[in-house]
Symmetry: C2
Subunit: 411 residues, 2 copies
C-alpha cells in the first residue's frame, strides 16, 4: 500500500511556513507499515494542484492532501478534488449549521465565505472529527483507478492530526487489507550513545529478528536523547499492549538505568512528577544555563507549585561582589553553597545548582558541577560538556535534570 502526501499552499513554497505536517504524517504512515515514496509541496494554483494530485494517484493507492480547505478564495482543494473525481460540489447544510454553531459558541459571527467550507464533492464522505471550521474529506476516485482514494485535511496541525488519528490511519489500514493492529511505544533514554545501546541490546535484537514481532528501532533525537521504539503487531489492542508491555519489561532489565520516560514524556515532566509524588518542592541556582533550566521547568509547572523558582547568575557563581583577591572557591564548593542558599532562600525541600567550572579550578574546560541540597543530605556530581557552544546549555540542563531524577528514584 502506497500513500503520497501533497502539502498545499503558496506560503509553503515561499518558505513563510515550514511544512512540518508532511513529516508528521510520513512518520505515522511508516508506523503502520504504509509506504510514502513522494511528498510534494504545491501552491494554491488549480492546474498545478490538479496535475500534482493526478500524478500522485497514478503511482500510489492513496493521496493525503493537506491544506487549502479554508474559507478564502485561495482555498481551492475542494474544487480540485471534485474535478479529479469528475463530480460537482454540493453544499452540505448540516455542515453549514455546524460551522455557524462553532462561531457562535466563540461569540463570533460566521461570515458568508465560511459557507464555502461546507461544499463537498458529490460521493465524498465527511471525516467525523472536525475540531475546526474545515471538514475533512474522504474522496473515492473510481474514475481513475479501482478503489483509489484522496483524503483532504486542513493545514492547521492539530486539526490534521485529530483527523489522521481518528479516521485516516485506520481507513488506510482497512484498505490495505491489513487486519492486524500495529501499536508502538517509545522508551526514552539519556546517558548512553546509540552504538552503546545497540551493543547492550545486540542479543535481544538478534532474538527479535528471528521472531519478527515485536520489532525495535533506534532514533537519535539530539538533546532529547535516544529513543527506542517497540512496535508490535497483533490481532487486537489488548494483544498488542501485552506484547509491548512484555518487551518493555525485558528492555528495562537490560537498559533500565538509562530509561527516563516513555512516549511524549520529557525529562522535566518526569522529574516534576517524581517530585510531586514525593511531595517535595524545588528551587534552582543556575550559572551557565542562564535561565533555561527554570524556563523548562516552569513551562510544565506554570503555577510554580512544585518548582518554586530560582536564581540566575549573580552570586550563584560567587562573583556578585566582583572583588578581586580573597580566597578563591572551587566550582564544586560554589555549587554546593549555591544549592544550599537557594534552598534556604526559596524555603523549598530541595535546592539544585548547576555551575560551570571556574577558571582557577583544576578541571578540563567544559566541566559542569551539579549539586543537590536536601534537608539531611547533599549530593554532588560533574559532567563534561561537548565543545559546541550552541548545544552547551541544553545539554547541561538535561544532564542536571537527569542527575536529580536518579537521586529521586534511588531515595
Amino acid at each position: 500500500m502506497r500513500c503520497e502526501i501533497v502539502a498545499i499552499g503558496t506560503e509553503l513554497l515561499l518558505g513563510q511556513i515550514v511544512d512540518t505536517n508532511s513529516s508528521w504524517i510520513g512518520e505515522q504512515l511508516a508506523l503502520i507499515g504504509i509506504d510514502s515514496h513522494f511528498q510534494v509541496k504545491v501552491g494554491d494554483n488549480f492546474d498545478r494542484m490538479e496535475q500534482t494530485i493526478r500524478h500522485a494517484l497514478d503511482r500510489s493507492d492513496a493521496v493525503i492532501c493537506c491544506g487549502g480547505l479554508g474559507p478564502t478564495q485561495d482555498d481551492i482543494t475542494r474544487e480540485v478534488i471534485a474535478a479529479i473525481m469528475g463530480v460537482e460540489l454540493e453544499r452540505d447544510e448540516a455542515v453549514v449549521d455546524k460551522i455557524r454553531d462553532m462561531f457562535e459558541s466563540r461569540g463570533r459571527v460566521m461570515v458568508d465565505n465560511n459557507r464555502r467550507q461546507a461544499d463537498i464533492p458529490m460521493g465524498a464522505s465527511l471525516i467525523p472529527q472536525m475540531p475546526g471550521t474545515a471538514p475533512g474529506l474522504i474522496c473515492p476516485v473510481s474514475a481513475i483507478g479501482d478503489d483509489k482514494v484522496i483524503y483532504a485535511v486542513p493545514g492547521v496541525p492539530h486539526e490534521m492530526r485529530t483527523m489522521m488519528m481518528g479516521t485516516i490511519l485506520d481507513d488506510l489500514r482497512r484498505r490495505s487489507g491489513e487486519r492486524a493492529v500495529i501499536r508502538s511505544r517509545v522508551l526514552r533514554t539519556w546517558g548512553d550513545s546509540e552504538s552503546g545501546l545497540a551493543e547492550r541490546l545486540a542479543a535481544r535484537i538478534e532474538h527479535l529478528d528471528t521472531l519478527g514481532n515485536p520489532t525495535l528501532a533506534f532514533q537519535a533525537s539530539g538533546m532529547e536523547g535516544i529513543k527506542v521504539r517497540i512496535t508490535a503487531k497483533a490481532a487486537d489492542e489488548a494483544a498488542a499492549a501485552a506484547i509491548i508491555g512484555a518487551e518493555e519489561a525485558v528492555l528495562r532489565e537490560l537498559i533500565g538505568d538509562v530509561i527516563f520516560g516513555i512516549d511524549d514524556q520529557s525529562m522535566e515532566v518526569v522529574v516534576l512528577d517524581l517530585l510531586q509524588q514525593r511531595g517535595l518542592t524545588l528551587a534552582v541556582a543556575e550559572g551557565l544555563t542562564g535561565g533555561v533550566l527554570s524556563a523548562r521547568l516552569s513551562e510544565v509547572d506554570h503555577d510554580l507549585a512544585t518548582f518554586r523558582g530560582g536564581r540566575v547568575g549573580g552570586n550563584v557563581d560567587g562573583n556578585v561582589d566582583g572583588e578581586p583577591g580573597g580566597e578563591l572557591q572551587s566550582g564544586a564548593d560554589i555549587a554546593a553553597e549555591a544549592a544550599q542558599n537557594v534552598r534556604r532562600d526559596f524555603r523549598t525541600d530541595l535546592g539544585l545548582a548547576v555551575i560551570a567550572a571556574q577558571a582557577h579550578d583544576d578541571q578540563a574546560p567544559g566541566t559542569v558541577f551539579m549539586q543537590l541540597a536536601m534537608e539531611e543530605a547533599q549530593h554532588g556530581g560533574t559532567v563534561s560538556l561537548p565543545g559546541d557552544r550552541a548545544r552547551f546549555r541544553n545539554y547541561a540542563v538535561i544532564n542536571v535534570l537527569n542527575f536529580l531524577r536518579k537521586i529521586l528514584v534511588d531515595n
Copy 2:
C-alpha cells in the same frame, strides 16, 4: 525562470528530519524573482530519484537537488545526475586531496568511502564554496533541453546555504538573463498589527506601486513581530543599497515608533546593544515568565556581562512566606518592589520586573505589570496578554523587552 527543489533522503519521508532546506531555498528564490512551483521530497532510491528529477526538469528550467552527496552507499545523487546527463562519473583527485586535508586538519583520518564524494559527472563543474567534505555541483543537462541545469548541494543546512549564497543564486540570475542586482532589507516591528501597519503605510505603498521599485512586503512572524521587507532592484550593489537606505528613512518617518531592529536582529540583541552602548548592567525579576526572559537574554550574553542574572518566582510574587492575611500588595506594587530588590541584590544599574496581576488586583485577567527600577527613576507599564496560554510567556517576554527598549531609546 522556474526552479524546482528536490530534497533527497528517506529520513525526510519518514519524518525523522523536517525538511527546512526547501523552505529556506524557496524564500531565497522568491527574493530574486525566480518561481518555484513544486518542491518534492524523495527517498534514497535510484529510480524514484531519477523519475523525480526528470519530471522536475520537464517543467522547469533548473532543479536544485539537496542531499544524497555524503560518503555512504545510500548517497547516490551523483550517480543519478550522471545518468540523467548521460555521462560517466570521474574521480577528481584534487577534490580527494581537499577532502583528505579537511580530515587531517581536524585530526582525523579520511576513510576510503569519502573518495566517492570526489566522483563528479563528466561535464559538471564544482561549486567553489566547499565548507564540508561534500562538493556541490553545477550540472548542465543539454541532453534534455537547451541550457537546463541541475544543482547538487549537501543536505547539511549551513553547507547548502553557503553554496546557495556564494554561487547558485547568482548563477540562476545570470541564466535568467537578469542583469540587475536585487537586494532586500527587513525592518522588524513590534506593537502594531499587520492591518494597522498596512493602513499607516497605505499612501506610501500606493506611491511605490506606481514607481515599481523598491517594493514593500509584510510578513507576520508571530512572536517575532511583523516584518516589513524592502526589496530594491538596481544596476549594482551601491545603487541597490542607496535605494534601500532612502526607503528605510521614509519608513522610519512613518512607523519608526514600532521598528526595533533590522534583518536578523532579535529584540534581545537590540536591547543588549542599547545597554552596552550606555554602559548599563541589568538584572531581572520574573513572575509569570518563569525564566524565559533570563534564558533569552543569556542566550545572547553568554558571559552575563551586561545581563547579570535574576530571580525567578519565589518572593518575586511576594508570596515566599505563604502567610495568609496581612495587607495584600497590588501587582503593580509587587512589581515595583521586585524591580528595586533585584537591582539591589545583583548590584546592577537597572532592575526589570515582569509580574502577572494578582487575584485581588482590580484588573482584567491576563494583565501583566512591568516595572523598571533605575538609580534615579522608576518606570511602570502594563500589557494585556492574549488568552492562549502557550503563547502567553513569550508574548510577555517580548513586551517587557520592548518596554525596556523604549525607555532606553528615550533616555
